[in-house]
């Protein structure tokens, strides 16, 4: 009789401890997901053949939230893209180093476009990075390399829209794709 009561007491005493342990385990599971929470892991880039200026314009659009986390990972220190122009410059450089276009003419010769930095801008929840290059006379196809943020998160997906003569060609950088080609 006395033995069963002591067992019962043990169980009752154990209950708060197990509850605490479960709570701890649950919290531990939550922590990593909290840190990486709300990342959209998508970015959109427009490549526009602008006939009125004769330039090829490249407009990258990133979620600031994603870009801030990524910049923190790349530069080893938390970055505040909203407040700091230097941080935005750093991030723009990072993007430009991971994006390239090669143009192919009708004879099949390819040449890499000399993309120049135009600027960056914050609009709402987005950070825009602008680049441009002189338009070539004869462009048959484009090869695009876009690994910005994709070298940090494997599930980052980048969409590239090429706009030429009113037509839109979409390239989707997902999974392990690093380079894509589109005929114009």
């Amino acid at each position: 009789m006395s033995r069963t009561t002591s067992l019962r007491i043990l169980r009752v005493r154990d209950r708060p401890r197990t509850a605490l342990l479960t709570l701890l385990v649950l919290l531990c599971c939550l922590v990593p997901s909290l840190v990486t929470a709300h990342e959209q892991k998508t970015a959109v880039t427009r490549i526009l053949f602008n006939d009125s200026t004769g330039n090829i314009e490249v407009m990258h659009r990133f979620f600031i939230h994603d870009a801030e986390h990524a910049a923190g990972v790349v530069f080893g220190r938390a970055q505040n893209l909203m407040e700091s122009a230097d941080s935005r410059k750093l991030f723009s450089n990072y993007v430009m180093n991971r994006f390239a276009i090669a143009a192919e003419d009708s004879r099949g010769e390819t040449a890499e476009l000399n993309l120049q930095y135009v600027g960056e801008e914050i609009e709402g929840q987005f950070l825009w990075v602008y680049q441009e290059a002189r338009q070539l006379q004869d462009v048959n196809a484009l090869s695009v390399v876009h690994v910005a943020l994709r070298d940090i998160w494997p599930d980052q997906a980048n969409l590239v829209n090429v706009e030429k003569d009113g037509q839109i060609y979409s390239l989707s950088f997902a999974d392990s794709v690093e380079s894509l080609r589109v005929e114009l």
């Binding site: 602008n50 009125s52 200026t53 314009e57 407009m59 600027g119 609009e123 825009w128």
Partner: protein, 104 residues
């Protein structure tokens, strides 16, 4: 969506007209509106301040005009944003302290 019209007349005056969204009850594809005015009409713009969720603004002007691309408007004065000034950023304005007022 309501139809927001901005009409510019030959004498340089502008008139704004806001047609409520109920106008689309007559026909969901296209609507007509007769505007009677004593002035000669120069140009019409639909939703000039981009208040509605219109994805394509290239067909919003009569006579047609070339809409500058994002980078073009970014390079132009006033930055790339439509209004050219983000009111929320004004919160960062440094306030005058008591010392400043004494100097004046």
């Amino acid at each position: 969506m309501p139809v927001i019209l901005e009409m510019e007349y030959a004498d340089g005056s502008k008139e704004e007209m806001r047609l409520p969204a109920e106008i689309w009850r007559r026909n969901a594809k296209q609507v007509k509106k007769l505007i009677v005015s004593e002035n000669e009409l120069r140009s019409v713009a639909i939703d000039p301040m981009q208040e509605t969720a219109d994805a394509d603004i290239e067909n919003n002007y009569y006579p047609r005009r070339i809409i500058p691309s994002r980078i073009e408007s970014f390079k132009s004065e006033g930055g790339g944003s439509l209004i050219g000034r983000d009111v929320m950023q004004d919160i960062k304005t440094q306030l005058k302290t008591d010392d400043d007022e004494q100097d004046n």
